[in-house]
Amino acid sequence: MHPRLELRSICKRYPGVVANDDVSLSIQPGEIHAVLGENGAGKSTLMKIIYGAAQADSGEIYCDGNPIAAHNPAVSRALGIEMVYQHFALFESVSVVENIALSASSAFHLPTLAEKIRNLSMRYGMPIDPHRQVHDLSVGERQRVEIVRCLLQAPKLLILDEPTSVLTPQAVVKLFETLRQLAAEGCSIVYISHKLDEVQELCDTATVLRNGKVTGTARPKETTSLELARMMVGSKLPEMHVSPPVPSEKPVLEVNGLSVKARDHFGVDLKNVSFNVHGGEIVGLAGVSGNGQAELVALLSGERTHDRGDAIRICGIDAARLRPNERRKLGIAFVPEERLGRGAVPSHTLWENAVLTAHRFGTVRNGLVDRRKAKAFATGIIDRFKVKANGAQSIAQSLSGGNLQKFIVGREIALKPKLFLVSQPTWGVDVGASAFIRQTIIDLSRAGAAVLVVSEELDELFEICDRLLVICQGKVSAPLIRTTTDREEIGLLMTGRGMSEGASANGSGDIVLQD
């Protein structure tokens, strides 16, 4: 029997980089095949080649034993190859069925299509109402729309590019059930990820890429994560050095009884939030997304202000009414959750993006941007954080998510902050770079800076934080010492149970967890 898809010696170069170097792999019908690798290992390029969105320089692609000669996405769709991209391509202002109709390759009849969507989504255990507007859907539901869009074509091979990077743990469980059902029906699945635990849970085989080359194939369920990680990052995995914290006497950040109404009906009210962060320590804020993190972070960074000045104090100064640039003068640096469009200007170069927050650090003189200094500053970050980019002239949106994250984290750390506020520091960042970013954050704090990390990844918080806070429905728990708490306690707090004064949150805890 022929494999569903076979790649033989695929090579692809871009100016300055070899994206794929002699890559071969084969996928059987009904197999869930992981493509593992760090950011910039060549996973996305390989997927584009399989899908036909990019052409290989050399090598062959076989589908069910037949060579594909001139490849493009239309050929893929004719062959039954479908792809779910990491970044959704949905129009928010129209309904689910209209979105799907927009991508239809042939003529369609809207009510019939809606019925098909409803049936198909029910069959695969991810119900969606075809007439809902996309802007009302959660991220997990939007992904369902993308998947259903592919399933309507009855695919033989489904490619998913880091599908879980935006999902809650509960939504991931659901997604995996769907994928297993699909595979059982004979559909092959290519699953791109850098999350080892997911690959081990879901995938039958894994092809590991490093610097564009295949460094190994494995059966993830029978291989330890350490072995897989070694294949991904090479021989040495960086080790984390966490020395005990030496908190400063006075807190650098004080939040006192902060209560705020949400700005729109998607937001969450903050209720009487109080906590401190001292210099020299790392405090983590855990919680399922959408429980008030965005509001709290906006208030801390100054993107949103508060009338009562002493609700937020930075370095002993009332800061709640200060604007972001005034807070930055007090020594705050901030990495937002959204990289493109907030942490960086997508259409600008990296050196221009360096000026965004580094304009007090010699890159602006006499009101003029000092291009040489800005380029040197950006190049310094690129070198130190091993950002894979074509130099300081690269356009921000041309970088992969993880690499841009490295650049933004690097930029903010280079500002030598007294208070470092960081949201999801390693979202979409590979193992090696995550370890480096975490180590840099630890070093920053041990050098005296106060650090507040907002993250959904408990593993990460337990790895680097000295104290943990939990946010649930706009309430923040009392601080927990990392060494004396455990996942269970944090998990309970995340659902709103066990919140000391959170009687009202109890009943709705389950709802919070649902996607």
Binding site: A107, F108, P324, R342, V345, L368, V369
Partner: protein, 350 residues
């Protein structure tokens, strides 16, 4: 691609323009010659070309500062008018009509009036989040009617045989031409300075950088702590100042007095110039020269071939239309999908 669109648009304008001429019963090649070449074949033509390009470029430079930050001032025509009114007012009524300070004062008055007229929409947008597109446009009509009131009423020249126009400006209030035979005057230097200033501002200055961030990614601007209201104020005031100065230069230059029609639509045409020039200082120079040629060519064919005066506007329309279309097709691909009424036909087709 950024450069391709304006060039493509220009070519398409010429092609469709010649089809248009042919359909009106004129030899397209001869008409194109009369439109685009003849105006530039005399010294006077060249002088007129630069004279008309100058206000277009000046205003477009000011507008582009705002456009880059997504601040849409489309009321430059009104700011131009107010600049001309204020400058002429100083020129006509200053106690000492021979003062050497007269021109500098008129310059300040014109710029100030343009800025003041733009400050109203800026205030409304920054404080009350009104739409500056609507407000600037409506303010244009107010300015035009105000001018009409002045020249028909209080400022009408008593010795002017009841024509709706003011008295001629005194000699000290006029920008001298380089050569008495031609109308081109020293205001062209103001435009050159504005182009350099605009380049410096948008390309090199930190303030210009902040404005470009506001335009390209408003959330990033907020993240970095750049004020949105600052971008609104700077964007609108820059356009107002440039348009006001252009209005002053027009009144103190070729016109020498106020009448109800002081602008052949410079304020609106400059919007097209800014976009044809890709909001870039040197692109705007080229765009302004092209637009000025359309004005001249339109007048030319009107006189020599008896074509209607709307020709200029039609060509401006072609140009903007094709530019927007070219931009659109560079960024989007059009695909035809036929809807089907009959669901069964669909099922059998699959």
């Amino acid at each position: 691609m950024r450069v391709a669109a304006p060039i493509l648009a220009t070519i398409l304008t010429v092609v469709v323009g010649s089809i248009f001429f042919a359909s009106l019963g004129h030899d397209p090649l001869a008409t194109l010659y009369a439109f685009f070449v003849e105006p530039l074949s005399s010294m006077n033509g060249l002088s007129e070309w630069l004279l008309k390009a100058s206000p277009l470029i000046l205003i477009a430079c000011g507008l582009a500062v705002g456009f880059r930050a997504n601040v849409w001032n489309i009321g430059a025509e009104g700011q131009f008018t107010m600049g001309a009114i204020a400058a002429s007012g100083v020129g006509l009524f200053w106690p000492n009509p021979e003062s050497v300070l007269l021109l500098p004062l008129m310059f300040v008055a014109g710029m100030g009036a343009g800025m003041a007229w733009a400050a109203i929409p800026a205030f409304l947008r920054a404080r009350m989040n009104t739409n500056e597109i609507l407000v600037t446009l409506m303010m244009t009509y107010i300015a035009t009617l105000f001018l009409s009131y002045l020249v028909h009423g209080p400022w009408r020249d008593p010795a002017g045989f009841n024509y709706p126009q003011t008295a001629l400006l005194p000699a000290a209030a006029l920008l001298q031409s380089f050569d008495p035979a031609y109308r081109l005057n020293s205001s062209i230097f103001i435009t050159v300075a504005a182009v350099i200033l605009m380049w410096l501002f948008t390309d090199r200055s930190f303030l210009g950088y902040k404005m470009s961030v506001s335009g390209a990614a408003p959330l990033a601007a907020r993240y970095a702590g750049f004020r949105e209201s600052a971008a609104v104020w700077i964007g609108l005031l820059a356009g107002g100042a440039a348009a006001g100065i252009a209005g002053m230069a027009e009144a103190a230059g070729p016109l020498g007095q106020l009448s109800p029609q002081i602008s052949p639509g410079y304020g609106f045409a400059a919007i097209i110039v800014a976009f044809i020039g890709r909001l870039n200082a040197f692109g705007i120079v080229l765009g302004g020269l092209l637009m000025s040629l359309l004005f001249l060519g339109g007048e030319g064919v009107q006189m020599t071939l008896g074509l209607p005066s709307a020709m200029t506007r039609i060509f401006q329309g072609f140009l903007l239309f094709f530019l927007l279309a070219a931009d659109f097709f560079i960024f989007y691909r059009v695909r035809l999908v036929r809807p089907i009424r009959d669901a069964h036909a669909l099922e059998t087709a699959r």
